[in-house]
């Protein structure tokens, strides 16, 4: 079972490395969206410092929505998905592997580039640390919740917009606690509570989201 997990993760990573432009398009989307806000709001540093956590988090949310469409689409098109549904290993594990690989490709780069963007917004070193930790806990949860939407909209017309419509409302708690952690740190309150809740959401999502995703995949692949 664990072998299947590792094999699937490795396969998806190899596939992603062969099509590197996909990885970079998500990353650059994130960078561009974050860079657009000062242009729209004005270069006032005090304002920027205030809105930085929210901006980075919303941009991360949108970027992960953008990437969701590709989570199952290729496997669905070439029939791999049907083989996964037929496989003796539980679908739960396979879904978890798909999501893990997807996060490594689209989520982790966002986490790594985030401190750089935080510097543009003049966040302190401590706030940057909290930002990275909150993203590290939050983006996997986003991928897990988003996988439900991706599985539900598989092969539908206008799937990309629809996926955002379905998943964004469900992601609001992650956004609240993620951005809240950084804000709490900036304003001198402890970030501990927010991070704990974020971790709790991640654990819950890891337990339940793959179940819903697996059910949705069975519906979509009939």
């Amino acid at each position: 079972m664990f072998d299947a997990f590792l094999t699937l993760v490795r396969r998806d990573l190899v596939l992603a490395m062969r099509r590197r432009s996909d990885v970079f398009s998500t990353l650059f989307f994130f960078v561009i969206v974050v860079s657009l806000f000062p242009l729209g709001i004005g270069p006032e540093m005090n304002t920027l410092r205030l809105i930085a956590p929210g901006v980075v988090w919303v941009a991360a949310l949108l970027a992960s929505m953008l990437a969701l469409e590709r989570l199952f689409a290729a496997d669905h098109d070439d029939g791999t998905l049907e083989q996964m549904l037929l496989a003796p290993q539980p679908l739960f594990v396979l879904v978890l592997a798909k999501v893990a690989a997807h996060w490594l490709v689209t989520g982790l780069p966002l986490v790594l580039i985030a401190p750089l963007l935080g510097l543009q917004y003049d966040l302190s070193a401590q706030a940057l640390q909290v930002l990275v930790v909150s993203l590290l806990l939050g983006t996997p949860a986003l991928s897990l919740i988003g996988a439900i939407g991706a599985a539900l909209t598989l092969g539908l017309r206008g799937g990309g917009v629809l996926v955002s419509l379905l998943v964004l409302p469900l992601c609001i708690p992650v956004l609240i606690f993620g951005a809240g952690a950084v804000e709490a740190n900036v304003s001198g309150l402890g970030e501990q509570g927010h991070l704990s809740l974020l971790g709790a959401i991640l654990v819950l999502a890891a337990l339940f989201a793959p179940l819903a995703t697996a059910a949705a995949l069975r519906v979509s692949a009939e």
């Binding site: 439900i148 539900l152 909209t153 539908l156 017309r157 206008g158 799937g159 629809l162 419509l165 379905l166 964004l168 409302p169 469900l170 609001i172 708690p173 609240i176 606690f177 809240g180 809740l197 959401i201 819950l204 339940f208 819903a212 059910a215 949705a216 519906v219 979509s220 009939e222």
Partner: protein
């Protein structure tokens, strides 16, 4: 099956449910109109002016029932979705599909009347407080459900995909509610609670309960009328629908 006293599954078939729903629609529509007339009369002319909030408070006779219904209908919708998913019954999924637009309407109504109430009371149309925000998110969930069902052409797949979404949503609602609540709280506390009784005047409470029942009757009438339309649309290939439509012509 024949040994049972009551056949619980009699009305789970669209063919037997269709005429029953027709009768319920008529009755609950009548009840809705009557109760709405009484409720509106009472809320405008009988209920006393609030000593703190003036005449503006009268909007709550629409606002509170609408927001209760919007939340309740989502739970009912999720329950029907769950039943449809587990037992694979066609009618349950049709019920869920029929309830969604009514629930969305109530959610929208609750937000809209809330804005009308907020303007004179708080001096602003909108504040980002917990209850308003979670009601808004509830509206988004309804819209997502309707959009997902609209995007899928195969009705059985639409049913099951919608059911999964509704169930995920219902699990998420408490999490969303508490996260938004901890995020910010400004809304006044609940005026009517089951444990503490009511902090409102007797007449106001009665008026509001009448309005609540009026909204219930309206929701039942409208969603059953809608489920009848869905039944006809989906079962149009069956003999009983052909006979029904042919006979009506």
């Amino acid at each position: 099956m024949s040994t049972r006293l009551i056949n619980w599954f009699k009305f789970s078939s669209p063919a037997t449910f269709y005429p029953l729903a027709g009768r319920i629609v008529t009755w609950s529509a009548v009840v809705a109109v009557v109760l709405l007339a009484i409720g509106l009369y009472m809320s405008f002319f009988v209920a006393p002016t609030d000593y703190k909030q003036g005449e503006g408070y009268r909007i709550i006779f629409v606002h509170v029932p609408a927001s209760w219904m919007s939340m309740f209908i989502y739970v009912v919708m999720a329950a029907w979705s769950g039943i449809g998913l587990v037992f694979n019954t066609r009618l349950s999924s049709m019920m869920a599909q029929a309830l969604a637009p009514t629930g969305a309407l109530f959610a929208f109504l609750a937000l809209w009347t809330g804005a009308f109430w907020g303007k004179p009371m708080w001096g602003t149309w909108w504040v980002w407080d917990a209850r308003l925000t979670s009601e808004l998110i509830l509206l988004f969930l309804y819209i997502g459900f309707i959009a997902l069902q609209g995007a899928i052409d195969d009705p059985r797949r639409a049913d099951r995909a919608g059911a999964i979404l509704a169930l995920v949503g219902v699990v998420n609602i408490p999490i969303i509610y508490f996260s938004v609540k901890w995020w910010n709280t400004l809304h006044q506390g609940a005026s009517v609670t089951i444990t503490k009784g009511s902090s409102m005047g007797q007449v106001m409470l009665v008026t509001m309960l009448i309005m609540v029942f009026a909204f219930w009757a309206y929701a039942i009438a409208v969603s059953l009328a809608r489920v009848r339309a869905i039944i006809l649309e989906r079962e149009k290939e069956t003999t009983w629908v052909r006979e029904l439509v042919g006979g009506a012509r």
